[in-house]
Symmetry: C3
Subunit: 297 residues, 3 copies
C-alpha cells in the first residue's frame, strides 16, 4: 500500500493494539512491528494510558503526536482557547501565561487535534531525539491529515539529546516568559530541518511578505523573543533574523506589550495586517487556518 493512503484497519487489529506495552510510537514500531499510521495506546512511566496518532511511514516512521497548536479565534486576544499563551487576557502580572509549554497539563483529544488545542502525556513523558511537524487544515479527520497537510518536515540531528529529550525539558531551560531576555541574543536554539512536504521558499510564502525578509527557511526555532521582550514558543519552518517574531512564531508568554493586546494569542500577530490577507506582516489564510501538529521520535 502507499505510505500515505488512508487504509481501513480491521476492528481486530484495533483491539489488538490495546495489548501493546510501549511508551512511544517508536517502541510500538520496534517492539511490535507495527507499520500502519493510526491511533495506538501508549503508557507513561507512571502507568498513565493514553491514545494518540503514530506516523509510521515518514522517514522510517515511529513518530508520536504529542501536541497541536490550534487558533480557535484570532479575534480573541488571549481569551478562552488560547492555551498555548494566555486565557486570562494580555497580563503583565502573569509573565508565564498558561505555562503549558513547561507543565504536565493535558487537553484535547487526538481525533480533534485539528479542531482544538491538543496536548497528551507524551509531551512530557517521552524521551525523544527528533521532532516532526505537520501543518494540517483545521477540521481535517485523522486519516486525511497526511494528505491534507500544507507543510511537513522533521529534524535529523537528534537535537533533543541536548535539551533533555522533549519540549517539556527544553522549555524548562528556555522559559517561555515575558522579560527573560532580548530579541535574537537570548533566543533558544534554531534546528535545521528536512522537508517532507514543501521547501524553504514555500515556507516563506506561508508567512506575510514583510516577514519573508526577516526569516530564513529550513529551520525550527524555539523561545524566540520579540522587540518588546515577549517570548514566543516555536517558529515553525524558520529561523528569525529580527525581533518581529510575533508574525511568524506561535505560542508564547502571558504578556505582549506592543499594541496591547493585539499580539496576544496562540497565533500571536499572524493577522497583523488583516485576516489571512497575506499582505504586510499578515500570514496566509492557509497558515492561519491550519493546526500545527508536533511529533517526537
Amino acid at each position: 500500500m502507499g505510505a500515505s493512503a488512508p487504509k481501513v484497519v480491521t476492528v481486530n487489529e484495533l483491539r489488538n493494539r490495546a495489548q501493546f506495552n510501549a511508551r512511544s510510537c517508536k517502541e510500538v514500531k520496534d517492539k511490535y512491528g507495527q507499520t500502519e499510521n493510526g491511533l495506538y495506546y501508549l503508557t507513561t512511566a507512571t502507568g498513565v494510558v493514553y491514545q494518540t496518532f503514530c506516523d509510521m511511514t515518514t522517514a522510517g516512521g515511529g513518530w508520536t503526536l504529542v501536541a497541536s497548536v490550534h487558533e480557535n479565534n484570532i479575534y480573541g486576544k488571549c481569551t478562552v482557547g488560547d492555551r498555548w499563551t494566555s486565557q486570562q487576557g494580555n497580563n503583565a502580572n502573569w509573565p508565564q501565561g498558561e505555562g503549558n509549554w513547561a507543565n504536565r497539563k493535558t487537553f484535547g483529544t487526538v481525533e480533534a487535534a485539528t479542531d482544538d488545542d491538543f496536548k497528551n502525556p507524551g509531551y512530557y513523558d517521552i524521551e525523544a531525539e527528533d521532532m516532526s511537524v505537520w501543518h494540517v487544515p483545521n477540521n481535517t479527520p485523522v486519516n486525511h491529515w497526511k494528505l491534507a497537510a500544507i507543510m511537513r518536515y522533521h529534524t535529523v540531528r537528534h537535537f533533543l539529546h541536548l535539551y533533555g529529550g522533549n519540549l517539556y525539558q527544553l522549555f524548562h531551560s528556555y522559559p517561555v516568559e515575558y522579560n527573560v531576555g532580548a530579541h535574537l541574543s537570548d533566543n533558544g536554539p534554531s534546528i535545521p530541518i528536512v522537508y517532507d512536504l514543501g521547501d524553504k521558499e514555500s515556507t516563506k510564502n506561508l508567512y506575510g511578505p514583510y516577514s519573508g525578509g526577516e526569516i530564513e527557511g529550513g529551520f525550527i526555532s524555539f523561545r524566540a523573543i520579540n522587540h518588546e521582550r515577549a517570548a514566543t514558543a516555536i517558529c515553525s519552518g524558520v529561523k528569525p533574523k529580527s525581533g518581529n517574531v510575533e508574525h511568524y512564531c506561535i505560542g508564547g508568554c502571558g504578556f505582549f506589550p506592543e499594541a496591547n493586546p493585539l499580539q496576544c494569542g496562540d497565533f500571536t500577530g499572524f493577522a497583523w495586517n488583516g485576516y489571512g490577507a497575506h499582505i504586510g506582516f499578515s500570514a496566509s489564510k492557509q497558515m492561519l487556518e491550519s493546526a500545527v501538529l508536533l511529533f517526537y521520535r
Copy 2:
C-alpha cells in the same frame, strides 16, 4: 423488572461490558443481547474507546447518548461554559462561534451530562437513523435520569438517512452560522416526533406563553434562523412558525444581533422576560434548569 426502574448491576456484569466490541448501543444490544440501561464502552471507527449511557428500553432500545446541552449560567452571555454557542462573547467577527455542532471536539463526562455540557465521539462517529431527546433536571444522577425527565420523545422515520447519518453531518449541510439565510425560508428540517413522556400541549407549556403562539408541538427542528439572521441549532419538541426562535431553540452561532448580547448563550433568549418567569417569552423554570440529552439510534 420494570423498564425504567433503576437496577443494581453487579461488578462482574460491569467488567464484562468492557469486552464488548461495538460502535453504538444498538450494536451492544443486537450483538451482545444487552437489555439493561446503563453505561457501556463503545469503540469508534478509528479505535477510540469511550464510555456512555445506553437507553436499552425505550421503543425497542439501542439508543446511544451522544451529547447534552446544559445551561450553566443564563446570566453569562456567551461566557465560559457556553460550548454550544460561544465562549468568546457575542462576536460578529466569529460567525460560527465554537463550531462544536460540526467538529470533532468532545467535552464533559457521561456521569456529569446533567451537570455540564457533554459531547462524546459517538456524536460524529455513529451512523444512525433516528434521534431521541430527554430533558432531565440539572444534577440528576444517571440512574434516575429516565424517571426524573420532564419530556422524552424520539423520531421514527429514519430521517438521519437523509442528512448523513448524524448531527455532525447534518450541521455540515446546514451550518450553524450567523448570516447564512433568512428566518423560516432557510431553516433546516423539522422532523415529526413520537412522545415517550409529554405531548404537544405540555411541550408548548414548557416554553413562554408568547412563544406558544409561534410554535407547533410534535417536532424536532434543526438550524432555525431568527429575524436578525442568527442561527440556532435545535428546537426541541417544536417547529417554529416565526423568527423569534431564540426563545424556543437552543445552541447556535457566535453572534446574535438583537439586544446584543442578551440572546447569546446555550439557552439563547430563554430568560428574555425574567429567569424562569414563564411570562412573555420566558421559558418555564423547569425547562431552564434541565439539560437536553441527545441520543442516536
Copy 3:
C-alpha cells in the same frame, strides 16, 4: 523500602494494576495487598473507570486522591481556571458559582494535580470515613509529592460517617452558596486533625500574621462564611474564630461582596496585602504556590 521514597515500579506491576476491581485505594490495599504509593485504576458504582494516586503508606495507607485546588493566577478574579469558585466573574446573580463542590463534574488529570485543578469520580463515588490533605508546591511530579509537601495531615474520627461519606454529600448539607447564613453561627463542621508533617504553629505561619490571631490550628473546617455572607469551602489546617475567612479558607461561592471582585478566586483573599508578602492578611508565598490535595479513606 522507605515509606516516602519514590520507587520504580516495573511495567508488569503497572499493567497488573489494571486488573484490580476496586472502588477506592483502601479496597486496592485490602483486597489486593498493594502497598506502593502510585497510580491505580478505580471503578465507580456505575462502572466508570479512572486512574488516580493512592497513598498506601500514611497512617496505615489506603488514601485515595479525589481532588486538588490549584491557584493558576491570583490576579485573575474568578476567571478561567477558578473552577472551585467562579469562572464567570464575581457575580451576585450566580450565588453558587461553578457548583463543583456539590456536582459530578470532573476535570484535570492525576499527573497534573499540582499543575491545575483536579477532580475525579471518586469525589462523589467513594463512601469514606476520613480525609487526608497535602499541600504540595505547584508543578511537582507525582513521585515527589510526598517529599515536597509543606504540610500533611489527616482526620481520625471517621467524621465523614456523619456527613454522607464524602464531600459531595457534605456540601449538599452545607451548600457553598452566597447568603446562606452568617459568619461563625452558620459555618459547617470543624474536625480535629493529626499532623503527618507540620504542627499547629507551622500551620498558622503559612497564613498571614493578621490571620494568625483569628484561627486555631489543628483542624480542617468546612463551609466557613465571611462577614459579608460569602461562603468558602475548606479552611485547611485551621478553625476560624472570625469572619475574615477569605484569608485562610479556599474555594467558595460565586459572589464575594467585599472589595468586589478582589476576594473572588480559588485562593480567595490570600494575596490581600500583596502577592506572597506574608504581611497583614497575605498568606506566605509557599502557601500561595502550593496545590491543596484532598484524599479520602
